[in-house]
Amino acid sequence: MTDTKLNIREFLDQDQKKDLLRLLTAGSVDDGKSTLIGRLMFDSKMLYEDQLAALERDSKRVGHAGDDIDYALLLDGLKAEREQGITIDVAYRYFSTAKRKFIIADTPGHEQYTRNMITGGSTANLAIILIDARHGVITQTKRHTYLANLLGIKHVVVAINKMDLVDFSEKRYEEIRDSYEAFVTQLDVPDVNFIPLSALKGDNVVETSDRMPWYHGPSLLEFLENVHVSSDRNFDDMRFPVQYVLRPDIKFRGFSTSVASGIIRKGDEVMVLPSLKKSKVEKIITYDGELDYAFPPQSVTVTLEDEIDISRGDMLVHPDNLPRVERQFEAMLVWMDEKEMNLSTQFYIKHANNNTKARIDQIRYKVDVNTLEKSNIEKFKLNEIGRVVLTTTKPLFFDPYKKNKQTGSFILIDPVTHNTCAVGMIIDRMGSKHLPSRITDMDKEKIAKGEALIKTEEYEQSYNQKGETIWITGLHGSGKNELAFSLERKLFESGAKAVLIDGSSLRSGLNRELDYSPADRAEHLRRVAHICKMLNDQGIITIGSFISRNSSLRNQVAEIIGKDRFHMFYMDADLEYCRNNKPELYEKAEKGAIENLPGVDMEYEIPDNAKMLFNPEENEKNLDAILDYLATNKIFPIK
């Protein structure tokens, strides 16, 4: 008893040290794919008796293997599929041997199931391409190889099956191998291997067969047990796409994710994208203790030495090894939706823990997955694949998929149905010889991010003023425009560079699709705030005269512009005064002919944090007060 106990302990200790191989099998029922998987699982004894009993029962009822056990039934789980005799989705299967654990993604072979193969293959280290020895390399073989290559699967095993039906002929094997090799050179699969076998009879599946003495290579299982895949991961380019910000209390601020690529070490200098702020890795934390370093795909939590504002979707990288930071890029796209592509759709895009929106700018070409020929096309339908150009709302931090699967892959989500309608693999737009292999130049980085090379301080020094915003709030007809316009004149005469942002000209141009509903009023102000910010960033004083009816709207504006450079003044005119100024407008509103007029059917909140209150009757005095304010606060002039 002690003896067995020891053995099982040993077994468990060994077992938990095994690594994991994820593999894709593609092929149709006719190729004997399910039979092959069934055989792998059966011969490595992972089938339980009741599953076998059920299998025998089912084989007799709906099987396609005569009186033999139909291994295919084991794998075709869903009822509807069993009746049709085809696997129409991706089924995952698990087995293990003394050396390794395996996860098989089993996918159907027909062209109409390309998306299923793409789904199953995305996480695979290795693909088994099945060839029926009687038929040799056929269209399907090429398609499966192309898809495996598209997904960046580095190891391909060409399993030449049904060798028993060609009398285990070496010549036939060589013919098939040569014709496959001729085809595969067009692609760049790094590791291609050929194994002749018979899934049905078991030759070269688990044990090497003595019926093919001319073959000196390993059996399929031996190969799977020994193929070296751990170096397939990218350990060079550190990418830490923040998935979750952990803030259990105010003292602790951790950034959690599964390391996408590269090694992150304690003490490393890291840069945060998109803010470009730098800090050092203070700790790498896990439930099981702190680590000195973490590598993909470990899920860890990192703390930094400095307090930097970092959110989900931001990325930590090494400052001397940055990904591309861009809003526009090219990708190979696979259309996964029954609904065909609509080029005017704004999709959701999910990439490296980042959610934003994307449009397809251009379809470069479509690839015929059977012939690899390229053609022009207007839009993609289900299972079609091609090269496209995309633009996203926010910049993405990416690497080409070939170099980095984790930061080179994305999904597109239909904004209406929320279905995952397409998946993409980013390709480097320009040939690599035109690009430095890594962007280290900060100016280029800034330009890529759309940041100016002239600093705000430089403008301010040159203009002898600070780029800040004078914001005048008040009701319709309160006289705030009169003040704003005369202030612009006054500043111009004094040599300041000031721009008046005029609501009505914006509404007739830039914002002409917006109405006066609360939502559109907010959007109007959001855009105004961004214009002010842009100008302020370039050292220009902006004058805004907007009702901005409550504190939440005003705060939003101040947030965008920057609280320190937002100076709000209140035109203190009561409703009576305004109504006398603009009687027609207020009458219409009171009759209900127009809606959403602040002060009438929409509340106007008097600000409690205005810098000054103005009396609308005293325009000159108000002007002087503002100029005084600007001088005192060294906004204009600075010196």
């Binding site: 998306r115 994710t257 090694i263 999910k350």
Partner: protein
């Protein structure tokens, strides 16, 4: 390069933690369904790991069919108290008050009312938009095809023919109001992985998993434990003490024991390696009808 190699278990662990964090980041109101079983215990440990040193940011919910083994409830209450979980226990009050149970109503009606309906009721009551479950793809055929983020319509129904493609580790978390997802972080674990992990991590589990002498009634080959007075007397009288353990835990009248001497994890694994019956066959509910689990899943059962 071997410095940068994860063992299979640590790779599965990292994958599960990634999934759990993703749900916490993307959903407003997630819940972790807690069945008290060994897979649930593993899932809770993974959630603790995902948010360490913080607390798990979502509650656990146990759907109590009111026919669970007494030891399960004891275990649940002690463990939850000790760990300070935010634990919701929900049961179908109407079903309970009208006395629905497997002995009187049969397994199909009982499971539908006290498990499936109770679950839907619980999910609706708290308006959860994502619910973690401990299902694994190696358990049963229809599960082998289910996504990790498994989309459910507003009636909580699964449509096996209309699943969202799921690639790499990018999960589509978009749902409309009223729709939800079920999430299976340990989809890729096998039964052996679960035992390995429990052993490696020292995770407490309900003692029913270990062999012990228990009062057992042989009902058509199913070894059912006489757990309380609600088992009809004529059956209870037939109970004999027998050395058994349970491979899965559920409602006691619906969960068959197996004859076993395995009273440690090592012995359980040893038994597993030689035993020739797969896990779910000790669950009576799977035998109700052909493709029964798929049917139940379509209706909203996990």
């Amino acid at each position: 390069m071997s410095d940068y190699l994860l063992t299979n278990l640590r790779e599965l662990e990292a994958e599960a933690i990634h999934i759990i964090r993703e749900v916490a980041a993307e959903f407003e109101n997630p819940v972790m369904l807690y069945s008290i079983g060994k897979d649930s215990s593993v899932m809770v440990r993974l959630a603790e790991k995902a948010f360490y040193p913080g607390k798990v940011p979502f509650p656990l919910m146990h759907i109590d069919s009111k026919w669970k083994f007494q030891e399960m409830i004891e275990f649940r209450d002690n463990y939850a108290r000790e760990k300070g979980w935010d634990l919701i226990v929900h049961y179908n009050k109407e079903g309970y008050e009208s006395g629905v149970g497997p002995f009187t109503h049969g397994s199909k009606v009982h499971t539908d009312i006290m498990k499936t309906q109770a679950l839907l009721e619980g999910l609706n009551k708290y308006k959860f938009d994502a619910a973690f479950g401990g299902a694994r793809r190696d358990e049963e055929k229809s599960r082998a095809k289910e996504r990790i983020f498994s989309f459910r319509d507003k009636f909580h129904q699964w449509d096996p023919k209309n699943q969202r493609p799921e690639l790499w580790n990018i999960y589509n978390a978009k749902v409309q109001k009223g729709e939800s997802i079920r999430v299976f972080p340990i989809s890729n674990w096998t039964e052996l992985d679960i035992w390995q992990y429990i052993r490696l991590e020292n995770i407490p589990i309900v003692p029913l998993y270990f062999a012990k002498e228990r009062p057992i009634v042989d009902m058509d080959g199913n070894l059912i434990m006489a757990d309380d007075e609600r088992m009809p007397k004529e059956l209870r009288d037939k109970a004999k003490m027998r050395m058994v353990r349970f491979r899965t835990l559920g409602c006691y009248p619906l969960t068959g024991a197996i004859d076993s001497e395995a009273d440690t994890i090592e012995k359980i694994v040893e038994e597993m390696m030689t035993v020739t019956v797969s896990e779910r066959t000790t669950r009576v509910i799977d035998f109700d009808q052909e493709a029964s689990m798929e049917q139940k899943k379509r209706e909203g059962y996990f």
